[in-house]
Amino acid sequence: MGYKEYIEIMVILKILLQSWFRQFKIKIMTRQNIIDILLLAILLPLSCVKYDAEPFTGKIMPRVTGYSTGVTNDWLYFNLCTGEIFNRKAPNQEIKEGEQYDRSDWDIAFCGYHIRTNSGTSGCGHGGAIDLGYGDYDRWKSVSQLPSNAAWVTDTDTDIYVTWSQAEWYHYLVENRLDFDDNPWFDPNNGPQRKLTSANRKLDESMRLSGPPMVYTPSYHTYAIRAADGQRYFKLQIVSWYNINTEIDDTGGELSYYCDEIN
């Protein structure tokens, strides 16, 4: 209920109750008391929509990434140590797909809700990630708090699938002489077509996708990210598939998240 509806209901009920008791000539004091008690009984649990959340202090992805931009492997790269962002305005501008492996000037990358670290099959760096568990983002302040025996997960190219962009899927069909109607991009039971990519399987657990209709549910786990140099550490918590300033019915994709260095 909004405030307007709440007030409407209160007024309607009060008028109705007053008319009943006037009808039966119940004493004024008694009548008013009974009216108030009844109103309280009915409407005590009734609540209004209250916008009392505190302002969001985290970060917002600068743009939507992934298949909806027309590029399947549309990765947005971050250098967490310097704050530099690559491919900020469009896919494959500063770092083309494949070029990232030989570069050590990025620490983490996003394509939709899939995440790379500069490690394993994604990059030549010493990156990686571990899961620090549900919530408790503010708890992790010092590197000494990180579990010393943790098995850092590096990137692989055998576990994670990204969604084909429609344009690239059709291009793929043409190249392989496959029938368009036999191989639609989207299947109601299986979702859109996907292909393997290189990414971090631990960080892939930070968001769960179900549907259609597509529902993106963050795990709210906090993850520790090891930078490409293997020396610096950051913590990451994805809190939403949506930008906090999103319009109603926006399809999302600009993630809201927290990411800070652990000193």
């Binding site: 209920m1 909004g2 509806e5 209901i9 309607i12 009920l13 109705l16 008319s19 009943w20 009808q23 039966f24 009984a41 009915i42 409407l43 649990p45 009734l46 929509v49 209250k50 916008y51 009392d52 959340a53 505190e54 969001f56 985290g58 909806s68 059709y170 496959l178 029938d179 368009f180 109607d181 036999d182 191989n183 639609p184 991009w185 989207f186 299947d187 109601p188 039971n189 299986n190 859109p192 769960r208 996708l209 179900s210 259609p212 209709p213 597509m214 529902v215 993106y216 549910t217 963050p218 809190v239 939403s240 598939w241 949506y242 906090i244 999103t246 109603i248 019915d249 399809t251 999302g252």
Partner: protein, 772 residues
Amino acid sequence: MKGIILFCLFAATVETTLQAQEKIQIILLEKGTDNPLSGAIVACSANADMKNAGYATTDTRGVASFAAPDSSIYYRITLTGFMPLSGKTEKGMSQLTLYMQEDVIGLNEIVVTASRTPRPVKLSPVTTQVLSGKAMVDAGYGNLQQALQQETPGLNIQKVGFGNEISMQGLDARHVLFLMDGERMTGDMAGNLDYERFNLHAIDRIEIVKGASSTLYGSRASGAVINLITKKTAQPLVIDAGARYGQMNERNYPNPQKKDFLYMYEKNVDRPNLQSWVSAGFKSGDFISQTDVWYSESDGFYLYQTEGDKKVYTKDANPFLDKDVVIVSSLARPPMGVEGAEHVSVSQKLFFEPSENLKMQLYGTAFFMNSYDMVQDLVFTQSKDFTGGAKATYSLKNFFSATVSLHADYYDRFKRHERRDERRKVYASRIMQPRLTLASRCFEAHELILGVEHFTDELTSDRFVNRKMTSRALTETEYFLQDEWTVNDRLMLSAGARTNFSRQFGFMWMPKLAVKYSPFEHWSFRSSFSTGYRSPSIKELFFNWDHLGMFMIKGNEYLRPEKNRYVSFGAEYADDRLFINASLYGNFFRDKIEGVWRIYDMQYNFEYANLSRQDLLGGELLARWRILDCLSLNGTYSYVDVSEQGGVRVNTTSPHAATGGVEYRYRRKNYSLSAGFTASYMGRKRFDVQDRVYVEKEGRSRDAWFRCDLPAYALCNLTLSQTFLNKVKVTAGVNNLFDYKPKTLGSGLTAFNIPATAGLRGYVQVEFSIKN
């Protein structure tokens, strides 16, 4: 109802006249508790055939007074929910104490749905199942959906992507017409209304007529009509109020903080399960007022599946396969969210009945609901509905009565932001229906009804043209005529026809014929032939919605109305203790409208089309048995067989469904106890779902069907209630007693066919009653 009206007209006259005469007092008490029964209609006459009867109603002491003639008088007493009494007083008697017994079997309920005229259910030419509103509240049901599922054979409520989906006798919600006091409602999704709009505590009774009733009710009445008749007090003042607290389904966020990104979402999906209600009515002179208010909130929860999806592509449904192919997904299936909700409804009815010949009514309902789905997309859904109308009936003795009515329903749906105070309207639906009905008993043994109604349906949505809010409308004008002929004490015939004209679909006509034959005192046989139709909905005609480039949902402006023929035969045995009704039916559809997936333009398109035929054959059994005055049993069973099409079964109904219940009552003065157990059983479901499968020998994927197999389940409830001093009632109960939780959510889109239950949950309920 007729008695109440007659009382309104005669009571004052009778009492004034009798002041100067000797009087006889009839004191009416409830059998078992000796509680006085108020509001009962007492008819007295010097003749056994009750000609020129005088009427009075019992007051809060259960007393009705009449002039005492020199000879004995004959009386007949009726009260809703009790078995009628009749008899004769002794000459010179000044006081008579009588006891009425609760009508557990329910054969004396007055029903209107099957014939649009009030008559006792046992005399209705078409079988009508009646659920008493009081009995549903006594049974501890928290809402209408739960009550219907536990009490109605073959009615299934399952969870779907957009809310609840009702199906009955193998037909989905598009073929089940819900009415409130005989009037339509709007705001449906695939035929499903917001069932939260129905306030269980405002319902006097629910009448369910299965089969095609389009002759009287028009489009959509092709599978069943569920008519909710709301309360209308017959007493000077009645106020019932109550509150209910239920265990939460699932606690998702134990400690929401204002700094949380989804603070509002976290609070909303974990709302407590609370309800409160007030139902108040008064009768003063020619005026009757009835007001009902209901508030309810509930939490959202998830349903889980531990194993990966399993799809079986059978050779039967996919002739290009050499053998059945089984594909098991290695990925865990994400849990499915079941939304929570918060809603309030306020309804007001005013009746003005200044004379025997003139009755008028104004009514209106306001409904507000917030639906809190489990999707973390920073928006939730708000719904707002205003329903209202006016009716007036003028009667000229038995010659005819004319009823003119105007009914309207305005429904809006919004999406509301969870971080900013803004909302956007995404859906608006308006219906308006003026109607004129002429009824006549001018010809002996005949009840004639002639009606004309005009129906306007307008829908505004962002799913017609490029995501812009656009309106589409349909109008239909219909005439109907029915004659119910009581040939003799044993035989009754009902015949009728309806014509329909619309610019979109042209002219149609729908006939019906029903026969009731009662060769012996307790036996009745009914048979009927009726036709039904369903005009394509505005959505089915005009939808044109691109779902993120993934698929299109496309309406079809060339759809024709689907039509069906319904044939039934039933036998019924009924006495004061036992009621058994068995029936067989066939429901034969042609041009049935279904949504099908088709691939073209390089993508899937969900299109509506008139499919060829679908035949549904089935049987039903209803039984109630009052073993002892304090103990009663009831049970129902439903079987339906839906025809396959090319080896493919698209209908998701289980062939077998049953309900059962046992109720024990202990009563004494100023105290009563009631314990009840109800069970609802749904048999195994096996149906085919459209999909694609890769065929190795052909080296390509093909359209295919996979078989979905969902196990049988039963939901059982237990309730215990105690009433003190006839004023305070305390109820405690457990829903889903055996903690059933669906283990499989199905596969792919078939997740939409499981009961939305979080498992065993308890509740307590307190009710107060004030009578003046």
